[in-house]
């Protein structure tokens, strides 16, 4: 076995792969189940963007908090939310992470530092400033990470929060997941600057753009920023260029994409393939190692789907509970 060219051990590499594979399988399975008509509501898939969530979350523990988006499954899985509970939630079952009351757009697990997917674009940015502020007051060295898309990056809430985080020198990482589209609208149309890093400069914070299909690029850039923030160095922005393999939401015909765009991305910008090839080439794991994980993950997702399908729906009385702590 050759020496390790990566900043992660073999175990960590396999863990990262397992996370990415879990996200991918989770999403592809949802795509399949949705088409059958079994899944209620709006579902936005993260497939294609796995390296971004995973590369960042490898640096975080449960005291660190993230605020996610409408496209939140990947963030949840990478932050350690239980996959069975997630699946049950998406099916609207009583056994779900939110007991069926939230659904895909609102999966949360505060015990894991996951402050919720969010149906409102940009809404996570102020919230994560608050989480970071709490960490600062407590002195627990926790950091906050807020995710938003290339489109949501134009929400006032996100922009205000960048200034606030800089003014209060909060340990916050602003992550732009730039997949080129906001629904059907291209980032070139909707964002009046070539790089979100320039925008970060306008709020007095450093920023860096990385190829978000390259797990290692994300991992390294995020690590540097997160460590700095943890030690009081203040907020920063990380832009990850990613691709989304599916439509904006399930049911989207994607006619706004160029012909062959998805096929090209699947062939050349698949973060899992790229990761696998690099790690194999370096001799740190074999195709067999990966295949084994693939099998285990497939079994996990299978089990999650069938237990979600079998799980009970919430009882009628649940309609009126959980509005207040006391009222």
């Amino acid at each position: 076995m050759s020496s390790n060219p990566f900043p992660l051990s073999r175990d960590e590499l396999l863990r990262a792969y397992r996370t990415m594979r879990t996200i991918r399988d989770f999403e592809e399975r949802l795509h399949f189940e949705f088409a059958k008509g079994d899944i209620p509501g709006f579902v936005h898939l993260y497939a294609g963007e796995e390296a971004c969530a995973t590369g960042i979350m490898m640096h975080l523990t449960d005291i660190d908090r993230i605020a996610s988006t409408h496209r939140g499954h990947g963030h949840c899985i990478a932050k350690g939310v239980d996959v069975h509970e997630m699946m049950a939630e998406i099916y609207g079952k009583a056994t779900g992470s939110c007991r069926g009351k939230g659904g895909s757009m609102h999966i949360a697990d505060l015990s894991k530092g996951m402050m919720g997917a969010n149906g409102i674009l940009g809404a996570g940015a102020p919230l994560i400033c608050g989480a970071a502020l709490a960490s600062k007051f407590r002195g627990d060295h926790g950091v906050g990470v807020t995710f938003f898309g290339d489109g949501a990056a134009n929400q006032g809430t996100v922009l205000e929060s960048m200034n606030l985080a800089a003014v209060w020198n909060l340990p916050v990482l602003f992550v732009v997941e730039n997949n080129g589209y906001a629904e059907a609208t291209s980032v070139e149309y909707a964002t009046a600057v070539d790089s979100y890093v320039d925008r970060a400069s306008g709020f007095g914070m450093p920023g860096v753009t990385v190829d978000g299909t390259d797990f290692f690029a994300v991992y390294e850039a995020a690590g540097e920023i997160i460590n700095r923030a943890r030690e009081g160095g203040g907020p920063a922005l990380l832009e990850c260029s990613v691709t989304r393999f599916y439509g904006h939401f399930e049911g989207d015909a994607q006619t706004y994409k160029a012909k062959g765009e998805n096929e090209f991305n699947r062939a050349n910008r698949d973060c899992l393939k790229i990761f696998r090839a690099r790690v194999c080439d370096a001799g740190l794991a074999s195709e067999r190692d990966f295949a084994l994980i693939d099998v285990e993950v497939a079994a996990l997702i299978d089990a999650a789907v069938s237990s979600a399908k079998d799980a009970p729906l919430p009882h009628a009385r649940e309609l009126l509970t959980d509005v207040y702590v006391s009222y």
Binding site: G92, K101, G119, L121, G156, A182, A184, T255, Y256
Partner: protein, 340 residues
């Protein structure tokens, strides 16, 4: 000529007709064209649920896709309206009002008053309302009471395709700011709609069904539930309910409501919004104050519960007022009257 078209198509037609008639009408919103700047189809979407599909081909640059910045583009629509345009801005889901409410309630709604009657702000803000789509707490709200509370705004919420077309045409021609609420669960519903242009005046409720025993007041999707309830009541209990579709919540047609209650003596108000400070309470209170003598029994309110909208179908189905809940409420107005 009338033919059956869906609510969605009726909205599209109204927009098309008014854009054709008046060059000052422009449309702004997220993906109302869809595909701007993208390599594929230029008008790939036509709105998140396809309501504005096809209009770009006809009216081109008068439809503008926007960045995801509701304050900026809703505010821009308002500013353009104050400068003589007649913009129709699409807010997609009414639930997003929280990021741009200031432009609506402190700017558009108040310009005319604050400026001593010297401003005119003919802007329409279209948005989807309502539950039943399994879209959970942040994409299923009515919020109609919030807008109705604000002086300076007009608030419209049609109950079917015919109403939608006529009310939207009126909204665009109207000289005041209008919040136009489209129930997403009505989009697919078809009914007879004239091909021609027609405007339904604001402040005139529609008596959707005549009846002598009880007055049911509602708006939007629940008008249909009220009609269903009325059929059941007629069939099973020989109770003839009058169903009033408010059409516009502000202005509101008090006369028609009061007249009906004067003749039936019983009132049920059905509102899909949450109960506190709702349209249900608004109508019940007004009737109690102004037609107290006519009331034979306590007015009843049927609303969503005081909770956010749940995601799970099993819970959401209990959330929206059902025909059965309306029937039960009517029952109370009658039982009480007998008891009294």
């Amino acid at each position: 000529m009338t033919r059956k078209i869906s609510f969605k198509t009726a909205i599209n037609e109204a927009l098309d007709l008014e854009m054709t008639r008046d060059p000052n009408v422009i449309l702004l919103g997220e993906d109302i064209v869809g595909g701007s700047g993208a390599p594929g189809e230029a008008d790939a979407w036509g709105g998140v649920l396809g309501v504005t599909k096809g209009l770009y081909a006809k009216h081109g640059g008068r439809l503008l896709d926007t960045p995801l910045s509701e304050s900026a583009y809703v505010g821009a629509a308002i500013g353009a309206a104050a400068c003589g345009m007649r913009p129709v801005a699409e807010l997609m889901f009414i639930d997003f009002m929280g990021v741009c409410f200031d432009q609506i309630f402190n700017q558009a709604a108040k310009f005319r008053y604050m400026f001593g009657g010297k401003a005119k702000t003919p802007v329409v803000i279209r948005a989807m309302v309502g539950a039943g789509f399994r879209a959970a707490a942040q994409h299923s709200q009515m919020l109609t009471p919030l807008f109705t509370h604000i002086p300076g705004l007009k608030v419209v919420c049609p109950s079917n395709a015919y109403e939608a077309k006529g009310l939207l045409i009126q909204a665009i021609r109207d000289d005041d700011p209008v919040i136009f609420c489209e129930h997403k669960n009505l989009y697919g519903l078809e009914c007879e709609v004239p091909e021609e242009s027609y405007a339904i005046p604001f402040g005139e409720a529609n008596i959707a069904r005549e009846g002598k025993d009880v007055t049911i007041v509602s708006y939007g999707l629940t008008v249909n539930r009220a009609l269903e309830a009325a059929e059941k009541l007629a069939r099973k209990d020989r109770v003839e309910a009058e169903v009033i579709d408010l059409r516009t919540l502000s202005p509101i047609d008090w006369d028609t409501v009061l007249e009906s209650v004067e003749s039936t003596g019983r009132l049920v108000v059905v509102d899909e919004a949450n109960p506190r400070c709702s349209l249900a309470s608004d109508v019940a209170a007004y009737v109690a104050q102004h037609a107290f003598g006519a009331l034979k029994s306590a007015p009843q309110m049927v609303t969503a519960p005081h909770t956010p909208t749940p995601f799970s179908p099993s819970l959401e189905d209990l959330y929206v007022p059902s025909a059965d809940a309306i029937v039960a409420a009517v029952g109370k107005t009658i039982a009480r009257a007998k008891a009294a």
